[in-house]
Symmetry: C2
Subunit: 406 residues, 2 copies
Amino acid sequence: MIMGFGLAPASAEGGLLLTLFVIFVAAKLAAEVFERLKQPPVAGEILAGILIGPSVLALVTPGELTHALSEIGVIFLLFLVGLETKPADIFRVGGRATLVAIIGVIVPFVLGYLVMHAWGQEQIEAIFVGAAMVATSVGITARVLGQMGLLSLETSRIILGAAVIDDILGLIILAIVSSLAKGGVHYAQIGTTALLAIGFTLLIIFVGARAVNRFRSRVENLRVGHSYLVFGLSLCLGLALVATHIGVAAIIGAFLAGMAMAESVEGTDMPPQVEAVTEFLLPFFLVNIGMQLNLDAFLNRSTIILAVIVTLLAVVSKLIGCGAAAWPLGRKKAMQVGMGMVPRGEVGIVVAQIGLGLNAVDQATYGVVLFMAVATTLIAPPFLARLYREEKRVDEEPVLPITPIS
Amino acid sequence: MIMGFGLAPASAEGGLLLTLFVIFVAAKLAAEVFERLKQPPVAGEILAGILIGPSVLALVTPGELTHALSEIGVIFLLFLVGLETKPADIFRVGGRATLVAIIGVIVPFVLGYLVMHAWGQEQIEAIFVGAAMVATSVGITARVLGQMGLLSLETSRIILGAAVIDDILGLIILAIVSSLAKGGVHYAQIGTTALLAIGFTLLIIFVGARAVNRFRSRVENLRVGHSYLVFGLSLCLGLALVATHIGVAAIIGAFLAGMAMAESVEGTDMPPQVEAVTEFLLPFFLVNIGMQLNLDAFLNRSTIILAVIVTLLAVVSKLIGCGAAAWPLGRKKAMQVGMGMVPRGEVGIVVAQIGLGLNAVDQATYGVVLFMAVATTLIAPPFLARLYREEKRVDEEPVLPITPIS
C-alpha cells in the first residue's frame, strides 16, 4: 500500500505494525528467557506485558485492537485445547470436576467476602471481590499443560471440566451480585439464563460430536481450500458467539466447538493449523493481561497490603477448595488440580470492571482485584510446572510435524 | 470470561465475535460457491464484502478492527508468497520486471490524467486519479496464482518483481502529487525518500537471505516453541514496520522478509504454519476491499458513466503498458503479465483517500476511484484464471501436508 509522508493512513498503518511488532517480539523474547531459566514461558509473556504496558515502559497502550487480538488469541487457545479433548474424556471425570468446581467456587467467594468485610469495606464491595475471586482463567493453565504435553492427563481433564462448570457458576453468581448492586434480584431471569447456559453446554457435549461426525463427509467434499480448517474456524467463532449471547464465556463456546470436532479431525492437518494460528495470536492475550496492571493504584501502603492479602487468599482458597474436592485422588493430584484453578486472569478483571461500572467497587478496590488477577496468573505457572515436573509427556508430539514443502 | 446481562463488556465481546463470524463465514461461503462455478474464490470473497458491507446488507460496518485484520491478512499473504520466492528467482527476471513496472506506471497515469482532463475535471484532481491508477494491488493476483499452484512460473515472478518496483514508483509519484496538492514540491525530500526506498529493497534482496542463513543455527537453538515461526513472524512484522517508516508499502516489507527466509526455511514446517495463519486472516482483507465500495456516490448517472470509463481504462492501460513490456515473451505471457497487474484494490483506495484528505479530490471523484479499485480486483481474477488455465501446477503440493497428530 502506497503511503504518503506523515499523512494519516501512513501513521495508522505504522502504528498498527508497531503495536503488533512490540507485543509479539517482547512476548517471545521473554518466553525465550523464561525457557532458559527453566520457568514456564507463559509467565514471561505476562511479565513482558507488565513491562511494555502503561505501568512501566508505556511502549504500547491497550486499546480496542489489542483487546480484540487478545480475545481472539484465547478463543483459539481454548479451541485448540478442545480439539485435543474428546467428550468421553470429560465424562469420565465429570463427577469429580463438578465437585472441584463447586467447592472451588464457594471457598474463594466466602473467604474473599470475609476478608474485605473484616478490612472494613462496604457490603456490596466485599461481595464483588468475592465474586471476582471465584472464576478460573483456564487459558493460563491450559497453555502451561499444553506446552508440557500433559493435556490428556486425568488431572488436566478434571481442571478443564471444572473450569467449564466454574464458568457457569461464576455467571450465576455475577448475575446475582450485579442485580444486588442495581437494587433488586430477578430470580426468574437469572434462573432462565442459568438453564440456558447449562442446556447449551450439555447439548454441545452430548450432541455436538455426533452432529459433526455426520457432517464430516460433507466437509470433506467442500471445494473451498483447507475445508476442515474453514469449517472448524466457523464452528469455533459461531459457538463462541452463541456462548456470549447466552452469557457464558466465549472461550467456553470455543472449547466446546473444539471438543465436538476432536474425533472428526483426528488424523487431519487441521489441529496443527489451528496451533499455528494460536502461536501467532496467543502472545496478544498473555501480554494484554500484563498490560492491564495499573501500578498507579498502589501508591497507598494500605492498598498494597490489602492486595497482597487478597492475592494470597485467592491462591490458598482455590488450593483448599479444589484440592479438598480432589483429595481422594491423592495429595499430589489434589495439589495439581488446586494450583491449576488458581489463575484468575481476564475473568477476575472483567468482574471488577463490571463492579466499577455499577459503582459498587471503588478505584482502590478495583486496583486490588486487578493485582490479584494478574498476580495469580504469574504465581500459578511456576508452581504448576513444578507440580507436574515428574509427569511424562502423554500428548502426541510434535503436534505440528516438520514436513518439507519441497 | 464471565459476562453480565447486557453490560458493556458482554456486548463488546459479542460484537467482536459477530463481526469475525459474519466476515469469515460470508467470505468462505462465497468462495465455495465460486469454486463450484469454476470461478476464482478471491472474486467471491470480495463480492461477499460488497454484500455484507454498508452498501447492501450492512451486516458489518468497516472500522478500526476490520481494517487492522485486513492489513495483517495481506501482510501475511505477501510474506507467504515471499517464502516461496527465492531472490535468485527475481534476479533472473529483474530486467523484464523493471520494464513492466515502468511502462505499466506511465501508461495508466497518462491515460487516467487525460480522460479526467477531457471530462472537464480540475488539473489536480486529474493528476490524483492518474496516480490512483498507477499502483498494483499484488495481493489479489498472488492469491489467484498461489491457489492455482503457479507462483513459480516465470510470468508470476515477473509480476511479483514488477509489483515491488511499481510500489516504489507509485510512492514517488504519490509524494510528488501530494506535494503539488499542498502547493510546493520538495524535490530533495522526495529524492531522499526514493533513495531510501530503493536502498531498503536492494539491501534486503542482496543481503537479507545471506544474513538469515547465518542466523539459521541460532534460530534452531532457540528454546521458545516453534522458533522458526516466531523468528519469521518477527522479521515479517519488523520489515513491514520499517517499510512503512520509509514510505513503501508494509506488504513490500513482508514480501522481502519472506524472500530473505525462503532458502532457510525450505523443508521446515514454517511455511505451512504461515499458510494456516493466512487462511484465517486473508478473508478479512478480501472482504474489506468489497466493504469499501460505497454505492451512495453513484446516484448520479454521469458519475456512473465516468466510473465505468475509468475502470475500463484502468484495465486496458495495464494490459497495454505491462503487456507491451512483456511482449517479447510472446502474446500469451504478455497478456498474463498485463492482467496480473490490473487489480488496484486497497492501493488505489489509499491514494484516493489521501487526495480526499488534501481536498484535491471531491466525493464524486473519490467514488469513481473507489469503484475502479474494487472493480479491477473483481475483473482480473476470472480472466487471470482463464489465461493461466492451461498451465500445469508447478508449485509443490499440498503446501500443508495432511499429517496425523495421533
